[in-house]
């Protein structure tokens, strides 16, 4: 069965302290990996799609990378407004399977 695991569950960073979030997956035939940001009480907001190992995508302080077994979301010099839960998801045939997310808190 397809599975998605994210680590750590929670992460506290000081403003400016860079770090990485991990998303590992076991799927038969990866058809893409998606990163989302979710703020409290809101729906997940799409960030990136990665389709092949070695691919990278960047948006402001965020960079997503993909290998054959996992993806990383690197956060460079984070700011308090980057505080959110970050979710990754992989597509099955007729659904998208989400990980449990990493709750990121950036302290000023």
């Amino acid at each position: 069965e397809d599975q998605v695991t994210q680590s750590p569950e929670a992460l506290r960073l000081q403003e400016g302290e860079s770090s990485s979030l991990n998303c590992s997956y076991t799927v038969s035939g990866l058809r893409g990996l998606f990163w989302y940001r979710q703020d409290p009480g809101k729906g997940p907001e799409f960030l990136f799609t990665l389709y092949s190992a070695g691919e990278e995508k960047e948006k402001e302080r965020l960079k997503a990378t993909l290998t054959k077994k996992e993806s990383f979301l690197h956060i460079t010099a984070p700011k308090p407004e980057d505080s959110a839960t970050y979710l990754c998801a992989v597509p099955g045939t007729y659904k998208y399977i989400f990980g449990t997310g990493t709750r990121l808190k950036v302290l000023a």
Binding site: R31, G32, G41, G43, P44, T93, K95, Y96
Partner: protein
Amino acid sequence: EPEVTQTPSHQVTQMGQEVILRCVPISNHLYFYWYRQILGQKVEFLVSFYNNEISEKSEIFDDQFSVERPDGSNFTLKIRSTKLEDSAMYFCASSELGQGNSPLHFGNGTRLTVT
């Protein structure tokens, strides 16, 4: 930017009552989904819908649940007889393409509270 809209934002209902959650997906999207998220837990798949048919449903989506696309714009989730454990955020999502070829776009959810 086009967005998925959901109504109501919050619904309180008594156990055993029927509720209908409404969604307007992005207009050129063809694939529709319902997910739910119990407070503090993961985003769980309920059902996917394409071409006026259910494509896949999870174990959560039992006979108490149904989905409908009554017209060209709305997509609804009905829970016939709500239970306390149905209390959760319900998210509607849509995608332009299927099978992972485009991302899901989510609405901001309906918070369902069953008392």
